[in-house]
């Protein structure tokens, strides 16, 4: 190493230069690519919601979304209404339709499916207020379903999902995803064998009390034939991710219960 690279001034200049160059490249990339990235993320959300509704290209045992190109049209066609419930201190204080939400300059003004669940959870923690989006659509058999987004924590990072229920809050479809769970273990929450297990599981007891669904170990019912035990079979070796799924179902879906109680009446 020659001498000039050891001088303090050179070191500082080099550091500054590097920060400028690398920062410049990254900032440029981020701004120029962000429209494309946002568009992709929008489509992904639509695909997720459609997946939970049962509109997908599933093949054999693998979970496949509806194509990215068809997703926006399919979304328009199949998701007939997007309701936004405003939750405040344990009660639902407001119910908005999509149009009302779009016209709401203060708290809305954008498509309800773009509501950021993470931000709403923070808002619930800090201010006790939370917007709960609920997507109403029809599955392939023409049955009306309600899809709610949920979000929680797995072993390494965030996990989230969409759960489709009918008006009795019986699960009709789910989609789970994760940011960084262990491949082969926790990451398998987005495999069909795990997601399909939720089909037909009840969330409410006969008396109408919200019970949630527990991702349980023990393998007592590996084929998940019992649909009224409020349990699905856990993934071996992924206890903490499974507990995360249980917790996010309980915490986030529980908030929607009053809406469904009203719906029944």
């Amino acid at each position: 190493m020659d001498n000039k690279t050891d001088k303090n001034l050179y070191t500082i200049l080099f550091a500054v230069g590097m920060v400028v160059v690398v920062g410049g490249i990254l900032a440029f990339l981020s701004t120029s690519l962000s429209p494309a990235i946002t568009a992709n993320e929008k489509i992904e959300k639509q695909q997720n919601i459609l997946y939970a509704l049962g509109i997908n290209n599933n093949d054999g045992t693998s979970a496949i979304f509806i194509g990215a190109k068809e997703a926006p049209d399919a979304f328009k066609e199949n998701v007939t209404e997007q309701i936004v419930l405003t939750y405040k201190d344990g009660e639902i204080v407001q119910t908005q339709t999509r149009q009302e939400f779009l016209d709401d300059k203060e708290n809305g003004g954008f498509e309800p499916y773009l509501i950021d669940v993470k931000k709403q959870q923070t808002s619930q923690k800090e201010k006790g207020v939370r917007q709960l989006p609920l997507f109403v659509g029809k599955n392939k058999e023409g049955k009306t379903l309600y899809v709610a987004p949920i979000r929680g924590k797995g072993l390494w990072d965030a996990i989230w999902g969409y759960v489709a229920v009918d008006e009795d809050m019986v699960v009709q479809g789910t989609y789970f995803d994760h940011k960084g769970e262990t491949p082969g273990l926790g990451a398998n929450i987005k495999q069909r064998y795990f997601m399909d297990d939720f089909y037909g599981e009840k969330l409410l007891t006969d008396a109408g009390v919200f019970k949630g669904i527990t991702v349980a170990k023990g393998n007592a019912d590996p084929k998940n034939e019992r649909k009224d035990d409020y349990k699905v079979d856990a993934i071996a070796g992924a206890t903490i991710t499974g507990d995360g799924v249980t917790a996010m179902i309980k915490k986030d879906l529980g908030l929607y219960v009053p809406y469904f109680q009203n719906l029944k009446k």
Binding site: K179, G208, I240, A247, K250, K251, P258
Partner: protein, 231 residues
């Protein structure tokens, strides 16, 4: 109470080495002798205790979506979280080198015992892992972030101390020649990790479940109560 819980959790249940397998490279490479292991372990505690809170502030006030609010309302919409990796790693590398320079100037004795490990630490993934976990687990306050940093550091320290002690003993055992050194260390670490899994069982078996139940009750009971009175 929160602090104590997080502290013990990060030492035993979320042990950096045995639960998340971070910092393995230096753990395996620098655990031949107890004395060097202690040096590296101490350096890791030290660096984690500094960088985790520092990166917490960075995350809270610069990187998170909306974190730039303190600059003025027009900055509130910026989301710089795509820079977290590079910012965290730059902070760590800078801190490590700063610490190296300071320690070398003011305490040559400490430098001689600790100094050689400091460059190793910048590339120790346990350090970056600490900051990234702090971010993804959404640790709420600076104090807790410090507790988390120190706790994780101590967890790592314990792990390397234990394996170094075992390796010193194992020297006198008759292990098949090809397995000596690295091979047996891998296998012993695997067995230790299985042992440490019992701590994880403590967490999921007791406390957490009770806490989750309480949360659910507080969330659901109220709206349902309202409804039954309506009926």
């Amino acid at each position: 109470m929160e602090h104590i819980e997080l502290f013990f959790k990060s030492i035993f249940i979320d042990n950096m080495v045995f639960a998340t397998f971070l910092g393995m490279c230096s753990y395996l490479a620098v655990s031949k002798k107890v004395t060097t292991a202690v040096g590296l372990g101490a350096a890791v505690i030290f660096v984690l205790a500094i960088t985790v809170p520092l990166n917490w502030m960075l995350d809270q006030y610069i990187l998170q979506p909306g974190a730039l609010k303190w600059l003025g309302a027009e900055y509130a919409s910026y989301d710089l979280s795509f820079l977290s990796f590079i910012m965290f790693i730059a902070t760590i590398a800078t801190m490590v080198q700063l610490v190296e320079i300071v320690v070398e100037k003011f305490s040559p004795g400490l430098y001689n015992s600790l100094g050689i490990f400091l460059p190793l630490i910048a590339v120790n993934c346990a350090i970056l892992g600490g900051s990234l976990f702090m971010q993804s687990r959404e640790i709420p306050s600076l104090g807790l972030a410090t507790t988390y940093g120190v706790g994780s550091g101590i967890g790592w320290f314990l792990a390397i101390l234990a394996i170094a002690a075992i390796r010193e003993k194992i020297r006198y055992s008759s292990i098949p020649a090809p397995l000596r050194g690295l091979g047996i260390t891998f296998i012993v670490t695997g067995l230790m990790a299985i042992g440490f899994m019992s701590f994880g069982g403590m967490l999921t078996g007791g406390d957490e479940e009770k806490k989750a139940k309480e949360d659910v009750l507080s969330v659901t009971e109220q709206p349902l109560g309202n409804l039954t009175t309506n009926d």
